[in-house]
């Protein structure tokens, strides 16, 4: 049985130390992804749910 290697394929792990980075990659590159991912992982504001609901309800009418 194969054990996942801990950094498996389930996407970024909250709290993962930012110093985890690929070989030879400068520190800022991980920082850039971390900055980006911190926004990706934020819950969508309510206004977005309203937007999608509106799209759902109204179509493009």
């Amino acid at each position: 049985m194969n054990q996942p290697n801990g950094r498996g394929d389930s996407g970024p792990v909250p709290g993962l130390p930012p110093e985890v980075r690929r070989d030879g990659e400068p520190g800022w590159a991980g920082g850039l992804r971390k900055l980006y991912n911190s926004v990706v992982e934020e819950p969508l504001p309510d206004s977005f749910k309203d937007l999608l609901k509106k799209l759902d309800d109204d179509g493009d009418a």
Partner: protein, 182 residues
């Protein structure tokens, strides 16, 4: 009177895909503009544009690239339209950066964000697309409407700029926060 059209399976599929890329659009827009509220407005407007144009989207192609291009073009036209009113509010940027999670990091997100916002706009866009969003050079060039060589060059310059700003004057493992108090 127009017929009320029941949502088709295609529309429903499109809506789901659009929903799934919204977090990425938010991250891209925030990186581009540095302003969370403005970024969210951009994303919502881009989402509406994408929805309106959904018939032009080919299912099975890259929704993320397609919507990023829409957002990017919308961002540029907004910038042009409101150039005079565009004042970068440092306070807003700073507030955004007092986020959790970076306390333990050797490189702080506020340093990263500040450096990102100092880049020339086309380099910022390039490094966001390739370095943060994970697009290939080819996809990024398509999104930005430029040749691949130009995109590669922009990314390389952005990387050099960031390395100079972020890696140049401090070792990566040093706790920057501790130095700030001294």
């Amino acid at each position: 009177m127009p017929d009320r059209i029941a949502p088709s399976a295609a529309d429903e599929g499109f809506r789901k895909e659009l929903l799934s890329v919204l977090p990425h659009l938010r991250a891209f827009a925030r990186g581009l503009s540095g302003r969370p509220d403005f970024a969210d407005d951009l994303v919502q407007e881009a989402a509406i544009k994408a929805w309106t144009a959904r018939e032009r989207y080919q299912a099975g192609t890259n929704m993320r690239a397609w919507t990023f291009a829409i957002l990017r073009n919308h961002y540029l036209s907004e910038l042009r339209r409101s150039r005079r009113q565009t004042d970068l509010d440092e306070g807003v940027v700073e507030k955004m950066l007092v986020m959790e999670a970076d306390q333990e990091g050797p490189l702080h997100l506020d340093d990263m964000e500040a450096a990102l916002q100092k880049l020339a706009p086309e380099r910022r866009e390039a490094v966001l697309l390739v370095g943060a969003s994970g697009f290939s050079y080819e996809e990024a060039a398509e999104i930005a409407g430029c040749p691949i060589g130009t995109m590669k060059s922009r990314v390389a310059r952005a990387r050099a700029d960031l390395a100079r700003m972020l890696d140049g004057d401090q070792p990566q493992q040093v706790e920057v926060k501790a130095r700030k108090t001294g």
